[in-house]
Each structure stands twice: as structure tokens, then as C-alpha cells.
């Protein structure tokens, strides 16, 4: 079964925290959190298992640390431990053409140093998704072939989906 195979393969990564989710209520089967540096390794595993990339979502968790009470994100889903400051989250959605298995691969990086490795060498389709995430949040995908604005004007130097964006 695909779900078991992939969750075992991903769990072998040092920083990975694999969590099974209820597909009916969440829309994906596995939520996998990894450290940014192990992202390419995780993507390689998914690639070998024949997954395709569906989307890349950036989320800006500004103010999460300051928020009173329980934090916005479900802590259990976000091991390795969260950065001690406000962070960006990037969620990679993968799916399989033959066997239904949606994998949400998550990683977190501090807002002050938003840099994670690219997976566009493994999945060329990730190229545009990463460029778009760079457009919207200013997250730098290191070793990305071309991080010029995709959807924003060529000379854009703002990142509109950051929660502290003021036009």
C-alpha cells in the first residue's frame, strides 16, 4: 500500500515527523514535517515512489509567537520543533496518479532568514510554484535557476501575501 510505503520511507529521514490524517475531514492522508535542509531528500523519495507535485503553498505565521493561548499551528504536526521566532511555512502537496495518497510535506523557516533549498531540480514543475511563493512571501529558494517575479511585475520588490504587507 502506497501510504504505508511512503510513510515508512519518509520517516527514515532524520528530522521527519510523519502524521497520518483523516482524509475525509482534512483532505490529505499524510502530513509530513521536515527540516528545510532535508526537503530535497524528501522530495527525492516522493519522486522515486512516483508521486507528482500538485501545489506549493506558503503561509505566513506572523504574530504566532506573540499570540496568547494556544498557538495557531497544531504543534504536534510541526516537529522538528518550531523556530523560536515567527516563521514562514511552506506546504508541498503531492499526490499519486495510480494510488490515491495525498502527502502534505511541510517545512518551517524563521521569518528573518527565509531560505530553503529548491526542489525544482527534482520536480521541474516546482519551478513556477516556487517562483510564485517567492513573489508572494519573499521566501528564497536557494539554487533556484531563476527567481524573477512570476505573477508580479518584473520590477516588483514587495511581497503582498506577507501579513505585514502594506501597499
Amino acid at each position: 500500500m502506497k501510504k504505508l510505503a511512503i510513510s515508512q520511507a519518509l520517516a527514515a529521514l532524520a528530522s521527519a515527523r510523519v502524521l497520518e490524517c483523516d482524509h475525509a475531514s482534512r483532505g490529505f492522508h499524510l502530513s509530513v514535517a521536515v527540516a528545510p535542509l532535508e526537503l530535497p531528500a524528501a522530495a527525492k523519495i516522493l519522486d522515486q515512489q512516483g508521486f507528482f507535485i500538485e501545489a506549493i503553498t506558503g503561509v505566513d505565521w506572523l504574530g504566532e509567537q506573540a499570540a496568547p493561548g494556544p498557538t495557531v499551528a497544531d504543534q504536534a504536526e510541526h516537529q522538528p520543533p518550531l523556530p523560536s521566532e515567527d516563521s514562514f511555512e511552506v506546504v508541498y502537496d503531492f499526490n499519486h496518479f495510480a494510488k490515491l495518497c495525498r502527502v502534505a510535506l511541510r517545512t518551517r523557516m524563521p521569518r528573518s532568514r527565509p531560505e530553503i533549498p529548491t526542489i525544482s531540480a527534482i520536480y521541474p514543475g516546482a519551478n513556477w510554484h516556487e517562483r510564485e511563493t517567492h513573489d508572494f512571501f519573499g521566501i528564497i529558494f536557494s539554487d533556484h535557476p531563476d527567481l524573477s517575479p512570476l505573477l508580479l511585475p518584473e520590477d516588483a520588490d514587495f511581497h503582498p501575501l506577507c501579513k505585514d504587507y502594506k501597499p
Binding site: G50, F52, E54, D60, N127, L152
Partner: protein, 372 residues
């Protein structure tokens, strides 16, 4: 062909197709490096119709974002409506009555037919045949009349509500839809005779721009593009949602991966959608169209949710991140067209300019959906 294109001694020139160009179907620019008429490099430049949908999702209530979903892929607006209401219903745990589910499926499939009809016309227009556009638009107008009587608009529908539908269908809808099915079943053989069997048309599509299954996987292409490359992936079957499991329909798959395969897939899909609509009309249960207990202000619990539906152009996905308030914390719209277009640069290398136009048309792109 391709070795000619990479010969370094050849002089090349850059041609900017678009943003205003008849072949790009909207505001898209393709930077082409051409060697004669052979394409050495093709790079789509996006963003000319970026409309900030994702930003808007973050600063308005769940219901107020609803009309936006009709303006993403305006040709299959109801599929996008469906995806959005489904993800919010999933997050908020709202169950909807059966009649509403059936009507959703029926209207979505009718919308898919109208989308494919418009594509067919525009595609043949790309190939230089003007007349089929008028024929398909004529059929589409019949369909639009039908959908208009139900939803109230012609194009950018906003028909679904959280927990059900905006309004029920009237008595004329059933007979009207059946009449349309009958008409369309008569017209499809005519299209095959006029278009599919035309020598020039086949010569321009068969074997042109093959896209391999592996390429689809690497780029995340879905919908008719993937199915034309031999991947039997359709969210309706693969990850059934709504009442699709109740329906009996096939997923057309072609192995060739060329422009002709993508064309035939959509023609077959029209037939399948007709089947679904027919079954839906037969099975349509009576009952309410709105769930009883739907809160006025939707506040889904914290967490993130994903929902994919099969839109006319591929799998449309929404990732909703909720912080428990009345507005989404983050709303990611996964556009099938973006992924389908992203393989254009690689697959178009070495093609002739007219073939690239045909290939581009066969991808069936809605530019505002790509740019969002």
C-alpha cells in the same frame, strides 16, 4: 528536427507572442527564441492578469469570497464553486442534502460541456478554421440558457452555497436538459465529421508535441493533458467526492500524448458528461436543497484542509488554512492551468511555430486562472 534547433551556428531571433496575440487567448506572453520557424526556446511570461484572488481570500469572509471562485476559471466556474464550497464544508463539517449534491453534479457537468465546447471552437480557430467556433458557440448558447435559468448568470456563476444551493431548479430544467442531451448527441457525430476526419486537421495534430506520462508527473499536469498521455487520473474517480460514486461513467484515456489525443479526450468527455447529466436527471431525488443547520458566519476550526475537484482543465485544488476566525487565514488556489502550462517550455522545444500554436491550444488554458 530538434538537432536543427540546437545547432549553435544558426542565427536565432526572439519573437514576443503576446500579451495581445490572438493565439494566447488572453493576456499571456510567450517569449520565443526562433530559428527560422523552429522553436529553440519558449518561455511563458505570466502575471498580466494577476487579480490577487489569494490576497482577497485573506481579507473577506468565507461567503464573500464565493464570487471570486467564479472568476478564476470563468469557463468552468461551477467546478471552482464546487471546489470552494466543498473545502469549506469539509472544514466546517457541514453535510449537505442529497438533492443539492445531485444538482451540483448535474450543473457542474453541464458547465464542463460548455467549457469543452468553447475550447473546441477556439482550438479550431487556432488552427485557422473559423466556422466550427460559430457552431460550438451556438450549442453553447443553448446550454447557457439552461444554466442561466438555474443560476441566474451566463458565465461567472455563483450558484452553490455552503450547505446547499442558492435555489432549486424549475420544472423546465429537466426537459430542457434532456432536450440538450438529445441535441448534443446529434451534433457530436457532426463535429467528428467536420473536424476529426478532416485531412488538414489530422495532419496538423497527429504526432505533434507528444507529452510523455513522465513529463506530466514531473510537472504535475492533470486533466485532459495527463489523460491524453495515458494517465488514467481523474479526481472524480480517483478521489470521489460529492455523489460521483453513484454515477456510471468512464474516464477516456489515450496513450499517444499528442495534440490529437488531447483533442479526442475532450470530445469523449463531452459524451461522458452527457451520460452523467442523464443519470443525474433520472436519479434526482426530491427534498430540500439547503442543509438546515448552517451557521450564518462560518468559522471552521483551526487547521489546514485540502480539497481537489476535477475541473474542466484538470484537478483544481484548494488548501485552506483556518485560524478559527470568520476569514480564511490563507487560501491557496491550485490552478490546473498553471501546471499544464509549465510543461509548455520543455515540450514546445523543436516544434514549428504553427505546431506550437496548435499545442498551446490543445492544452486548453484560461489565463486568469493561471495568474489568479
Amino acid at each position: 528536427m530538434s538537432d536543427l534547433a540546437v545547432d549553435p551556428s544558426c542565427e536565432t531571433f526572439v519573437l514576443n507572442m503576446g500579451p495581445q496575440h490572438p493565439a494566447t487567448h488572453g493576456a499571456l506572453r510567450i517569449k520565443l527564441v526562433l530559428d527560422g520557424e523552429y522553436i529553440v526556446e519558449a518561455e511563458p511570461v505570466l502575471g498580466y492578469i494577476h487579480r490577487m484572488h489569494e490576497k482577497m481570500g485573506e481579507n473577506r469572509s468565507y461567503l464573500a469570497f464565493m464570487p471570486n471562485t467564479g472568476r478564476l476559471d470563468y469557463l468552468s466556474a461551477l467546478s471552482y464553486n464546487h471546489g470552494y464550497v466543498s473545502v469549506v464544508e469539509r472544514a466546517a463539517g457541514i453535510a449537505i442534502p442529497e438533492r443539492a449534491e445531485y444538482l451540483r453534479v448535474i450543473t457542474v457537468e453541464l458547465n464542463r460541456i460548455s467549457s469543452h465546447l468553447l475550447w473546441l471552437g477556439a482550438f479550431v480557430l487556432d488552427l485557422g478554421g473559423f466556422t466550427p467556433l460559430l457552431y460550438t458557440m451556438d450549442d453553447r448558447e443553448q446550454l447557457l440558457d439552461l444554466l442561466e435559468s438555474v443560476t441566474g448568470s451566463r458565465l461567472t456563476y455563483c450558484y452553490f452555497r455552503f450547505g446547499g444551493l442558492y435555489n432549486d431548479v424549475d420544472d423546465n430544467f429537466g426537459p430542457g436538459a434532456r432536450a440538450f442531451i438529445k441535441r448534443m448527441r446529434r451534433r457530436l457525430p457532426m463535429y467528428h465529421k467536420l473536424i476529426s476526419k478532416n485531412v488538414i486537421f489530422r495532419q496538423r495534430l497527429e504526432g505533434i508535441a507528444p507529452v510523455s506520462a513522465e513529463m506530466c508527473r514531473k510537472y504535475g499536469a492533470t486533466g485532459p493533458v495527463a489523460r491524453g498521455s495515458g494517465i488514467a487520473y481523474d479526481v472524480r474517480k480517483h478521489e470521489p467526492y460529492s455523489v460521483y460514486p453513484e454515477f456510471n461513467f468512464d474516464i477516456p484515456v489515450y496513450e499517444q500524448g499528442d495534440s490529437m489525443a488531447r483533442y479526442l479526450i475532450r470530445m469523449d468527455e463531452i459524451e461522458q458528461s452527457l451520460r452523467i447529466v442523464e443519470q443525474g436527471l433520472d436519479k434526482l431525488p426530491p427534498g430540500p436543497i439547503m442543509a438546515v443547520k448552517v451557521p450564518k458566519i462560518i468559522k471552521p476550526p483551526k487547521g489546514d484542509y485540502y480539497m481537489a475537484v476535477e475541473a474542466a482543465r484538470g484537478s483544481f485544488g484548494i488548501r485552506l488554512v483556518s485560524d478559527g476566525s470568520a476569514t480564511p487565514y490563507r487560501l491557496k488556489l491550485r490552478s490546473p492551468c498553471l501546471s499544464n502550462l509549465s510543461l509548455f517550455g520543455e515540450a514546445a522545444r523543436g516544434l514549428l511555430l504553427p505546431d506550437a500554436v496548435a499545442f498551446f491550444g490543445s492544452l486548453d488554458l484560461v489565463i486568469p486562472d493561471i495568474d489568479r
